[in-house]
Symmetry: D2
Subunit: 486 residues, 4 copies
């Protein structure tokens, strides 16, 4: 009768741990992971699983090289495993960080909506591109969740795959007792920004770790209603600074030409704080895809806020194996073409694993199903808040609720996410389209244009949507009365 | 300890009733009212109160003329009263149906947003125009509610003034024990349409009265999830008809040129049913201002659905006393220039009054604060559902909830309405602006453009916004960084 | 996506109706039913089904005799059917009014708890006896619901079997789309009492029909927070009368000796009104089993409120076929030993059927799953409120919520009911015991005594609890540490 | 618009702290406090305020003596202050730990209900005695809260005064922005018990600190649904142990004769776990006053669970200054009659203060208003869960909800507490009586007996209930119809 958490009988043994890394052929995140493990106080084995077995094998070689050739505190062995079941069997922890569908899908996610006037700077976690990425990813992750239920039901699962809210939600939808968290950097970025702000404006010497804040929302659309730097309330600073010139800048597109796609000038952040009295905790490029006023108008109207676009060319350039710098790195390191330094990343994953194994407990932001930590979003929706991580437990902190206006902005996205996840349960394309229509970026279109966009995205990415019942869809079989008349 | 309804000790005495008509100088609704009263089974006196005393006096003369010169079942005397307090003292029923602010405000409500690309076909109950109409009207209605509390706390209050949801909500916000309902025709229009549909498609002989349905939502954005004609379920018909040619028409703007602004071709209705599986119960011209996909693009993109615009010239023409046909009518009737027929309107007001006085009980749609009748909208929000009207009681029927996607569309508007009403409590313009920003029509603008639109509307209508703390507003005092840079 | 009610395509055809009467061998209710049908405006056939086929056949003979030998407005034929499936096939309406388990079980329900000091005056709808009656009845009603789903999914189902809340809830638990209502007289009794009160105290000439009230709660524990007689608010009367001598009477047990077990002196009613400011709408003998203060102390302490006990001897006397007066009636009528008069009962069943078939709509109290009609009880719990009955529809009225203290009293019982129904889903005796423990009558025992009582009731009624997993129960296999020590 | 926590601009300065101790004349807790402060890493001044100024002065002398004569890490000065306002002005932290009303009231709390058959083993935090203690205490604490709002609105307030739930709730009712927590040892006792259980049964070497658990409920009626010892899940142990002899013991009253009133044999704990599948986290003597089955029957029926009674003689003996050992202690120490050792208590107060001042963060159980930490109890009710304590912040952990049956037990008490606190807002004795009636101990009486008990308690303690509107009470002015007839 008692709805307890499902959890392993004892904490992970930090001296003999088995970690399964789904997506272990990764070129970006795997090298960070290998180094963090090497610098941890933990020992064990890592099984790298990837649709791209070569990548996994390369990372395994790299992992073992790091262990063999360097002074490490953690003792680890790496192995590439080509069967998911074998990779998961008896695992203590599972990392999911994949991108199986090829780069071309991301190009479609950006380029096709743009033809319809929807030009998001990221287009990967919400909006039409984000929703299609979710539709491609969710069926696979339901399979992962089912395999975890079978082979390692107690394992701690760390999901890094975007869109984090959709994907983490889908894991729980398939296997409600899964011990999964979604992890993401955005809030840490905000904490770093607040540390620099406090340093500049309040003459403090502060780093990210000095900032504590009460985070809540959904991934990439999180908010802070309390922030302190070394215990000092930052709210009075916010209320002053919002009127300062630095919080009221207008950018000329030309000024951004040489900027990275990741540049963040915080102008949207301050504008939202100005309007709603609560502080956004995600980069501006993400915020504008959720609080969509800023996407209206021309590209210059977005760039005016200091935001640049992730061009689809950027994606194809950076995400194609051949040209990826990350790949080069690992090989270069292994072949001695480049000097390797064993330094830790900013990831909290290793710290979480240590805490779960009985090491020092700490607090960090995680994405988990709502059990009350956000009091005015619905139960079960995957929300992001701080959580206490300690021996055999990750427990969210009670973060309270929102000003009505911000809750309103968030629930729209929760409604989209829940609709898509529910639609995936029965592969129901038409229900997915109803969720697609709710997205505020899509709401700038006529419903018929939205249907055409949806159908065009399906057509372009059909190969990666095979789990969906495309044939049974009424939406996809509609002729376009609208087009014929225009 | 028991939260009972506040209610008069006994039902209204149908043989000696006092009705106060706030807005009694009305040219449109008053003549209907006079005739319905004359044809009712009720007797009593009517006090007509209006900022425009002349209008009230004319209507009083007309009312008494109808009573004196015609065969009436109800015996009524009419009097124009020029003090609100005296008009309300001891009243059994109060009608509120006013438009004190002059036509120019409506012209602004339409024309100013249009300059910013927001072109709603009605622009009077939601969207920037509707919100400003609410902001002009709410303070006055708070005064009415306060006067009712003082002079006739038990009276039944029938509000016909738009925006019905904002205004009715404001009455309750000022005087929570008020016995007020907001009344509107839209749902009856849908029932008439369904009667004609059933007649044509199912070979029934049906009129509006044959249609029963389960209505729910907010005014002008109501939905039906059960509809029967003489007990026959219409859902199978809906599911067929939605694929028929008649439900998939595309209009050329030229084809609408001679159409009334009130023309309704139901194409938006069917499109929404197609997408969300629940049937809208309001005219298309209202629906598109709440489900805003249809406003996107050019005017032709809206007209393609068979909808025309209420031009601001139409408003100034029709709503200016000098040219109003309604005014002419009363005078013409009185002077014998036009033949007068004593026939009943389609209003349910007289029926409600009879039922409250102990006559036949019946069911009709009303706008009242939510006490559970809509299970998934918040308590206290003014929602529209069916209600049972009987002796001394108007009680909503439990209408249940919504498909998630439609609930999502509605709650956004509830959030705007609640924000504006709450802002009015403290005359807080900046909070009102936060509510303004939430409106989906406004969300097609950059926040700065939205601010400029808001400020321009305030400037144009300042005279009618004197209750608001315009001077204390940060939003209104912002300089426009944006403009200066574009 | 749209959660509509499940309902027949068209209203019941009033000229050709099929009614299935489960429990049609009834001696009490069937004769009323036959007469009401004969006096209705409806025609059709009735299939009488009963575990006791003889009783059904007798009632069929009686029904046809009434039709043949008397002047009836409704034309009906009666048939006893001995297979449930055949009886239900294609039915328009189903009545469930059974008591399959024999009288001895009721004797146990009363006598065994009394040995433990629990002496409820009725012991049939709540408390240990009521819970066991529910445990015996629910499995059977789950079978009925399953058969209805298969053979007449659209039928309107009228449940008269006690405990109405448990049983109606179980019907919905098995078949969520069932169109079922639970019906009961208690509220009508209260309305009759209020009519007599208004007649005496306010010099009105009033009957039950003149009383309108806002009812809410659970069956046998309903409350009224608005009551009017011919539109006149009765609250001021209540507030006076509660201090009058008539509302503060103390009874000597001797004074009740000749009273019927159904006598109701309303002293508990007034005491509860005095304490909580809201008016109970059930007989005192039921109220005290839900608001259990009154059961404390000796029998005289209950009788002091003017309440008598239903002795188990009464039950065996009245409910044993051989001695039942009702049986005598039918046979006596048929055989001409007694004069038969065709007069209507006070049941609303026939009126409901007429309304559902398109006749006059009206409002009456029904037990249905909560969809918002009671705003502060949980969704899905079977609650009792007024409902509008009209063509093809029974829709609850929104009745609002409770004073906190009364809500608290009610939710305890809802928790018991929900626990028992949920336990029945998996035949889990131990979970049922957890629900049993919650009952306030049971809470007057030590948990171990409660366990012994539970085990003794199971042992005595085992034959009627065969659906439950008695063997798998930990509770039933516990040895009694307590007893051995006392 | 943003509902942020109210909080000081910066964390407490650990080198210059001002602590106000209301109830600083305490004989029990003050000496612990003085030693913990002396052993802390914090410096500052302490202002001792007490209705009994002598006691405060003695403790001040003691505090300064400890500082002067011993090696302390924290540097503190102590001062007795005789005006509340002056004592609070500018304080960083406030301790409330008072018992102003004299021992006789506690004697009444125990003895008077016992005359009515209600014999709680503690009678101080719930049940008739607990409710009257609350009624005496709440008005005073509303004054404290008002004074804190005026003189030190940002202070952290630590309430140790019983009944902790009533009192902490009243602080928030008066001053919603107060930074108050209620603190209590019970959960720590459970953790100690679990440590010893794990040590014995699992061969671990464990102390209280090794036990982590997910606590939730209300003070003295908290529950655990996850418990680990050094990361090892204790649930399998619970499920075994509940059947062991040690968890099924029956005590003879004689065996308890020499036991302390605080003896805890955990038999109620295991019985509740057995019945509801969730583990209680409070001492048995408290549990039985909330889960009242165990109070039924004779005293032997309670003692059978290994529980003894706090006799009112114990209370008068221990709580009278003259005989108090604690008083003796301080004086004895000061005068050298007894050796003083500077050792830390088990209180977490000093740790909390250090964490709030920027020291090490940690997790402990606290009583705070519900903002979602318990997902199925109402918002605003004071609930007990774990909380993270860190720089300038105390934030509850999201603990989730309850099995339905246990939630049901808890909400009854929440309803009593909320009713009493609300009644205190308007000094409404009759509303307080409605809350009194809800208490399950009181529900073992007839309502009239309950009224007599209530009236007798009021009469005995009238002097300490002067804030209540005793004269305006209908309940208190009722004559006893019941008595006269018995």
């Amino acid at each position: 009768m008692c709805p307890r958490s499902h959890r392993a009988a004892s904490a992970i043994d930090g001296t003999d741990m088995t970690i399964t890394y789904i997506g272990g052929g990764s070129r970006q995140w795997a090298p960070k992971f290998v180094r963090d493990m090497a610098l941890s106080e933990l020992d064990g084995e890592v099984r790298l699983y990837d649709a791209n077995y070569e990548g996994a094998a390369l990372n395994a070689r790299f992992g073992n090289w790091v262990q063999d050739e360097h002074e490490t505190s953690g003792e680890w062995t790496y192995e590439a495993v080509d069967a998911l079941d074998a990779a998961l069997e008896g695992a203590d922890a599972v990392i999911t960080s994949t991108q199986f569908d090829p780069t071309e899908t991301f190009v479609h996610d950006i380029d096709i909506p743009q033809k319809y006037g929807i030009h998001g700077p990221v287009a990967a976690t919400i909006g039409p591109g984000g929703i299609f990425r979710a539709m491609r990813t969710i069926p696979l992750y339901r399979e992962f969740a089912a395999a975890i239920r079978e082979h390692c039901p107690d394992a701690w699962v760390f999901n890094f795959t975007n869109p984090v809210h959709f994907v983490t939600r889908a894991l729980y939808d398939e296997y409600p007792d899964i011990n999964a968290v979604g992890l993401c950097h955005e809030v840490m970025g905000t904490r770093s920004y607040l540390a620099s702000l406090a340093s500049e404006q309040l003459d403090m010497e502060a780093t990210r770790e000095d900032i504590t804040c009460n985070v809540k929302g959904i991934n990439h659309f999180t908010w802070i209603d309390e922030a302190r730097c070394q215990g000092v309330d930052l709210w009075p600073l916010f209320e002053d600074f919002v009127d300062a010139e630095e919080a009221n800048r207008v950018f000329e597109p030309a000024a951004l030409e040489d900027e990275s796609v990741f540049v963040d000038n915080q102008q949207v952040t301050w504008e939202l704080f100005r309007r709603f009295g609560i502080f956004p905790a995600a980069g501006d490029r993400h915020l504008v895809e959720y609080a969509t006023w800023f996407l209206n108008g021309s590209d210059a109207d977005l760039e005016r806020w200091g935001i640049t676009y992730t061009g689809s060319d950027y994606r194809s350039k950076h995400w194609t194996p051949a040209e990826s710098e990350q790949t080069t790195d690992v090989t270069a390191w292994l072949e001695g073409d480049r000097e390797f330094e064993l330094e830790s990343s900013e990831e909290v994953f290793a710290d979480m694993l240590e805490a779960l194994a009985g090491g020092e407990s700490f607090t960090t932001n995680v994405n988990m199903p709502n059990v009350g930590q956000v009091s005015d979003l619905e139960d079960g929706a995957v929300v992001e808040t701080n959580a206490l991580v300690r021996e055999n437990e990750i427990r969210p902190l009670a973060a309270g609720g929102f000003p009505r206006q911000v809750r309103s902005l968030i629930t729209t996205h929760v409604d989209t996410i829940e609709t898509i996840v529910e639609a995936a349960r029965t592969d129901d394309v038409d229900e997915a389209f109803a969720g697609f229509l709710l997205d505020p970026q899509v709401r700038t279109l006529q419903t018929e244009r939205a249907r055409e966009l949806f159908a065009e995205l399906v057509a372009a990415e059909e190969r990666y949507l095979t789990d969906w019942d495309l044939d049974g869809s009424a939406v996809l079989s509609e002729s376009s009365a609208y087009d014929s008349s225009h």
